[in-house]
Symmetry: D3
Subunit: 67 residues, 6 copies
Amino acid sequence: MPYVNIRITREGASAEQKARLIRGVTELLQATLGKNPATTVVVIDEVDTDNWGIGGESVTARRKTGK
Amino acid sequence: MPYVNIRITREGASAEQKARLIRGVTELLQATLGKNPATTVVVIDEVDTDNWGIGGESVTARRKTGK
Amino acid sequence: MPYVNIRITREGASAEQKARLIRGVTELLQATLGKNPATTVVVIDEVDTDNWGIGGESVTARRKTGK
Amino acid sequence: MPYVNIRITREGASAEQKARLIRGVTELLQATLGKNPATTVVVIDEVDTDNWGIGGESVTARRKTGK
Amino acid sequence: MPYVNIRITREGASAEQKARLIRGVTELLQATLGKNPATTVVVIDEVDTDNWGIGGESVTARRKTGK
Amino acid sequence: MPYVNIRITREGASAEQKARLIRGVTELLQATLGKNPATTVVVIDEVDTDNWGIGGESVTARRKTGK
């Protein structure tokens, strides 16, 4: 019954990569806490780099300066 | 003053359906807990089916296999 | 398969009131969008009034001044 | 190490405005709580006005009636 | 730089189990998407069973009826 | 009408510090984007250090090793 929200920058993750994330997190919750995979929900949010900040600046700005 | 976040898969909900959701949740919070509708916020997130997983696989994959 | 997060201030909502919220939101999603109640998840977060702000001040402060 | 999620309606915020928000929130957390800017994450979600409700109606509907 | 929020019912997960979840999710994001572990944030929310609903009823109610 | 969620580790933030955060974020949204303070909502979540991970380990573990 867990709910997992994974938030990443939108930088070209493929459907296959996202499917592996979903499968992996679901298995991890079963292995670690015995959670039922059938009712484990995983939601992935892909966020534009203008809208993601770390260290006080956007990821867009960081990419430009090679960070 | 409540904040409600409704997350659903992006599968063609109309503006009218979303308006009914907003109205319905707001009324429910007033009827159940006496919350002031004027300051009740409802935010609906529509999520691509590639990005929503249940049972260890994406909704995209589930739709293909008739689940 | 929807996921609904309801956030309210912690001011004594009873288990019965919360059960009515859960039932009501689940029914609303079925009536409005045809969502399957069996996989609709509702999570209620109760937040201390010191930690909830509106209008630039905490709900604790607002309660003291009769707002 | 804080995580801040700012949710606003999608109404034309520029990259520059969003960069100022990111910088401002990061500085505020340092000034107020001594949080390390290097690991402060800020994520801005812009939400369609059809999907944002207040007072029981969508922001789209409110804009039409001059609210 | 990912942010992961894992929400589970509060039913006695130990600090060791939660540490394994944190490690496992962080490794999965590195293996699947090449994300830097140093800036991957994982936050676990444990929610009272009265406040978690599925199938229109609280987990507290479901536990009583053996679901 | 913005909604801001600030998540920090639970390490003794005072009510006064949290009030300053609420006021500061609300003012920032007005100054940067012209948002109405009266309907700006700020919610602060304080999370146990066992439940917050960065770099693949919990903050509890990091504090013990002087990180």
